[in-house]
Amino acid sequence: MNLTLKIWRQQDASTPGAMHTYQLADVSPDMSFLEMLDVLNEQLNAEGEEPIAFDSDCREGICGMCGLMINGDAHGPEVTTTCQLHMRSFSDGETITIEPWRSDAFPVIKDLVVDRSAFDRIIQQGGFISVNTGSAPEAHSVPVPKDDADRAFNVATCIGCGACVAACPNGSASLFMGAKITHLGLLPQGQPERDERVVNMVAQHDHEGFGGCTNIGECTAACPKEIPLDVISQLNKDLRTAIKHGH
């Protein structure tokens, strides 16, 4: 199929960017979206134009490195990551708009590449259980009810891609944060630091310039891992409890 691609190009963080239009012919429906961009980049390179920078690594939907706004949707029209989206989801002759994540907390580095290091800094503020190597008790000493373990797993599947932030009109990272709070809060090992964790992570979230949650739900609709909205209720509940405990 033949496509018209409107793509955001920006030399670096301090230079303003703009949309550029490219034509791409003979796109196979079996290509992944990023392979389509690879082919475009080969074409640009041959023509002497610098290839478009975009992030990806595993290309199997698990590392969270990829992420584009495609026709205004984070990760495009399907519930999956950009790397797992295939061209069969588009049709011949279509015009596709491709932009980076848009959020104050995710500044553009170049073209389609953004800086998501704010996520790491949120985790640094408490997204862990403090246990030094070698000091762990025997694994079977603390049983965990299967339902809790399963649910902890489900929310722990967040890949940190940032689509929730990009999709949110407020640019909130509440879904990302709620997933971690819920994961660790469901496990007995996560209890001792539970109050501190939520208070510190939320403080860092706000400090990074992410917006507040107003329960719109765009985040969960865009999330490739289908992290449910109720992790945000859990986040709020944990925060209230922590405050009640004097934090």
Binding site: S28, V39, R59, I62, C63, F119, D120, P143, D150
Partner: protein, 675 residues
Amino acid sequence: MDMPDTVTSTEASASGSLDGDYDDAAGYYTPGSPLVDAKAPEGPIAERWQNRKFEARLVNPANRRKLDIIIVGTGLAGASAAATLGEAGYNVKTFCYQDSPRRAHSIAAQGGINAAKNYKEDGDSVHRLFYDTVKGGDYRSRESNVYRLAEVSTNIIDQCVAQGVPFAREYGGLLDNRSFGGVQVSRTFYARGQTGQQLLIGAYQALERQVAAGTVSMFSRHEMLELIVVDGKARGIIARDMITGEIQTHVADVVVLASGGYGNVFYLSTNAMGSNVTAAWRAHRKGAYMANPCYTQIHPTCIPVTGTHQSKLTLMSESLRNDGRIWVPKNQADCDKDPRDIPEEDRDYYLERIYPSFGNLVPRDIASRAAKYQCDDGRGVGPEVDGVRRGVYLDFADAIARLGRDSVEAKYGNLFDMYARITGEDPYSVPMRIYPAVHYVMGGLWVDYDLQSTIPGLFVTGEANFSDHGANRLGASALMQGLADGYFVLPHTIRDYLADGPFEPIAEDHPAVVEAQESVKGRIEHFLTVNGERSVDSYHRELGNIMWEYCGMERTETGLKKAIDLIRSLKDDFYRNVKVLGGAETLNQSLEKAGRVADFFELGELMCIDALNRRESCGGHFRGESQTEDGEALRHDEEYAYVSAWEWAGDDAAPVLHKEDLVYTAIEMKQRSYK
């Protein structure tokens, strides 16, 4: 359930031997002195690690923060080491090329992690895991290292559970296990099909905790491009800030490489796009020996290539072979037909035919090779790419008829969904198509028992070293090794080295630093000024094709020699005709790739020479010249029970081969058989 790498029904004893002295690689290398692991522990195997830990000198806690450690890599092997050494109070700097340490390719591991917990009381033990791993490696690994791996495996599970890794559990709340790799015991811990992700997030969180504590500094989007060696010791690295292009010098008392595997030398593999050999190769060129580079694991159940645009391959769990039946059409004329229209009598269930007792469950390498033979024979299915159809059917029609669609869905639903998303076909109604793909490399930098390379002060962990898997790796053992190295082995062995530190400070203008800086800048400058005709990717793809064709599932003397010639001339062309646009002082992904591909050329050549030297079939390495009458792998223990450790001798000199003899005292060598 993954397949046995070496489960045997009938175990033939001792292997055949060679007639006369073969040296296919004569002229391609220089024989060197034998290599001995000076740290090899003695005494009863079960006491060796305890003894080494006791003998390794301690570092006074007050001194630790004066000692600088560089760790390149934040996968299971790197993140676990960084967290642990940070907790111990050392001053750690960690590097990764992704935008966050959490994205290292360990994240993609699906199946599980082994540990000798014996929670099922099914006869597992440290000794049995040790035995299975040595046998799985086809008797080409070092027994002391493997024993230690099995020994610390149980601590890994304790540590991960305490960190909050949500492993699968039973209704009673205890951890669930499954049997994996065809072994007879259930020792694999898992988190649905995302075990690597959950383990890595655990290690990543421990790492970030140390970042907050100030013991670890994290350098994301930084690529190591050179090792700094001063007075024979590894003292730092040169890294490029991938956003600004700045070439930075980082010095330390010790350097750890945990940079992962180099399967991307094949261009297409199940590795991540950025997986590379550069960190390891730059160290190799500075004196670290490269061990068994030709040992590659090729996984039989991957989604086939759809066209020349293909950028990577996706693995599907081998458990599919438990219920799916593998076949190709008997007649070439049927290869492009709808498989549902091909009658039973015109199908060749070739694994069931050739291996009646194991059928579709033969080990990975056998299943892979058999698929290749069918396709080479013109009976492959799926789209034609470069004139050949490379795919075989994996058919669930019988399983659906026998078990019902619901139970097939319950077992394999997520895999079927993934397949459908990638191929656009519905595997419930049309047979899946699969083909083998490069998945893991057992080869890597040579290390001693302490995980130290031949350069003092350079330690290597995880997939980047060669240490524990011999010629083949058992399913669920790479995750175990990465975490064993990082949490429980390296932190003990590295202190023995650091006990002599802090070492003399190194000035920015030290000749060794300047030389390393200049070498990096020179390479970058070269790539940006060639201004040739071809893209980096086009060279990488062509190199990959050569490697896959001649150094892939089956290797022969003529093929390997041809490959070496092809690689050399392609490499020459690359340096003269590559086209890299953009600048040095900006994010430049073509430039990043150019550096990696340049190193893959040199590695690819060495892999072929290594494969040429080893005229035996062992584990994942199959030499056409070394097979039994009915086409099975034939090992030659008399001649080849050694580790090949290659020394770099210069750009225009043949590499030097040092052999480390493998001696087994706790285990007896056996030949495998599946017929």
